[in-house]
């Protein structure tokens, strides 16, 4: 099939940037979205133009590197990562708009590449359990109820892609932050730092310039890992609990 692409091109963070139109031909429905862009890029290189920069690595939906807003939707029309989106979800003659994640906490680096290091700093603020190497008790010393283990796992699945922020009309990082807090706070191993974790991570999140949550729910619809919206409520509960506890 043949497609028209309108892609956000921006040379550098200072550059203003604009949408540029390209044609790609002979796209096979078996291609992934990124493979379709590869074809475009090979063509651009041979024409002496700069290829479109985009982040990607594993190309199997787990590293969280890839991500672009396709026709206004983070990661495109399917609930998956961009690298796992296949061209069979488009049809011949389509025009596809491709833009970077938009949020002031995720400044554009170049074209479709954005700087997501704000996420790393949110994790650095408390998204861990302090367990120095070598000091661990036997793994079976503390049983973890299966329900808690499953809950922890489901939240730990977050790949840090940032689609939630890109999709949220407020550029809020609540879903991402809640996923990590819930993962660790439900485990007995995470209990000693339960209060400081949520307070510190939420304040780090605010400092990074993410927007507030007005419970819109777009984030969860864009999340390739299906982190549920109630995850945010669970974090809010942890936050209130920690605030009152610390208040005392």
């Amino acid at each position: 099939m043949n497609l028209t692409l309108r892609i956000w091109r921006q040379r550098s963070p200072e550059d203003k940037g604009s949408m540029v139109t390209y044609r790609v031909e002979d796209v096979s429905p078996e291609m992934s979205f990124l493979e379709m862009l590869d074809v475009l890029n090979e063509d651009l290189i041979l024409r002496g133009e700069e290829p479109v920069a985009f982040d990607h690595d594993c190309r199997e939906g787990i590293c969280g590197a890839c991500g672009m807003v396709i026709n206004g939707q983070a990661h495109g029309p399917e609930r998956t990562t961009t690298c796992q989106l296949h061209m069979r979800h488009f049809s011949d003659g389509d025009t596809i708009d491709i833009e970077p994640w938009r949020a002031s906490a995720f400044p554009v680096v170049k074209d479709l590449v954005v700087d997501r290091s704000a996420f790393d700093r949110v994790i650095q603020a408390g998204g861990y359990i302090t367990a120095p190497t070598g000091s661990a008790p036997d793994a079976h010393a503390t049983a973890v109820p299966k329900a808690a283990a499953d809950y922890a796992f489901e939240h730990a699945e977050c790949i840090g892609c940032g689609a939630c922020v890109a999709a949220c009309p407020n550029g809020s990082a609540m879903l991402f932050t809640s996923a990590k807090i819930n993962h660790l706070n439900v485990l007995p191993q995470g209990a000693p730092e339960r209060e400081s974790r949520v307070l510190d991570m939420v304040s780090a999140m605010d400092e990074e310039g993410f927007g507030g949550c007005t419970n819109t729910g777009e984030c969860t619809l864009a999340c390739p890992k299906g982190i549920p919206l109630q995850s945010i409520a669970d974090m809010n509960r942890e936050f209130l609990r920690a605030s009152t506890k610390r208040g005392r």
């Binding site: 309108r6 956000w8 949408m19 807003v69 026709n71 206004g72 939707q73 708009d97 833009e99 938009r102 949020a103 002031s104 906490a105 999709a167 949220c168 009309p169 407020n170 550029g171 809020s172 310039g209 993410f210 927007g211 507030g212 949550c213 007005t214 419970n215 819109t216 729910g217 777009e218 619809l221 549920p228 919206l229 109630q230 945010i232 409520a233 669970d234 974090m235 809010n236 509960r237 942890e238 936050f239 209130l240 609990r241």
Partner: protein
């Protein structure tokens, strides 16, 4: 936000029930309005309770509006550049209805107070005769429109707002999500309907 919203919500439930007394006739409704002013007696002086309530409500509306404004500003700053391709509205209609619905409600409240509390804009404007004032109101077609539009905005605001408040204060969780949404819908419909029957009743002549 959630706290002020919920306080206002509680007030509205009571207010709606009170309004329904209109179906029992002028005497009963007016005496209910009179009773409102005697709550707390003899501990409180006449109308003191009402003033306390008014104070609380004003504080709530103002705080609610201020936080809504601040939040919206922060949210705009967090997404300074919009997408060229407008995202299809999936869930975000809620945010739009909340913001615009809230503004409509704010304007309505001002109108409503001028209308039925201070009686400034009321077609009849007879002090201590709320029943008659209400009936006079809803004989005018455009007043009906103001009220009905406001009630619909209220319904939408509560439909999302109630669930949203539960989410914000962490009262929601996976098991509860559905029932909360049901309760929100029931509340929204009940309040909207409960308020709307009054103008409708006046229009159709059930209450006169």
């Amino acid at each position: 936000m959630a706290g002020t919203g919920v306080i206002m919500l509680l007030f509205l439930v009571v207010h709606m029930l009170g309004n329904l007394k209109i179906f029992f006739g002028a005497a009963e409704f007016n005496s209910y309005a009179g009773w409102l002013r005697t709550i707390g007696e003899p501990v409180l002086h006449n109308s003191w309770y009402l003033w306390v309530q008014r104070f609380v409500l004003v504080v709530c509306v103002v705080l609610h509006a201020i936080t809504a404004y601040q939040l919206s500003r922060r949210d705009r700053a967090a997404r300074p550049q919009r997408y060229q391709h407008r995202p299809p509205a999936r869930a975000s209609y809620a945010t739009h209805t909340m913001r615009w619905g809230g503004v409509i409600l704010g304007l309505f409240i001002i109108w409503h107070i001028l209308d039925l509390t201070t009686l400034t804009v009321n077609p009849l404007g007879q002090a201590h005769h709320p029943y008659e004032n209400v009936v006079a109101d809803f004989r005018v077609w455009w007043v009906n429109i103001i009220y009905i539009v406001a009630m619909l905005a209220l319904g939408l605001h509560i439909r999302h707002g109630f669930w949203s408040a539960a989410q914000t204060i962490g009262a929601n969780n996976r098991g509860r999500d559905r029932s909360l949404k049901v309760v929100a819908n029931v509340l929204a419909v009940a309040l909207t309907a409960g308020f709307i029957v009054v103008p409708v009743a006046v229009m159709t002549g059930v209450v006169s």
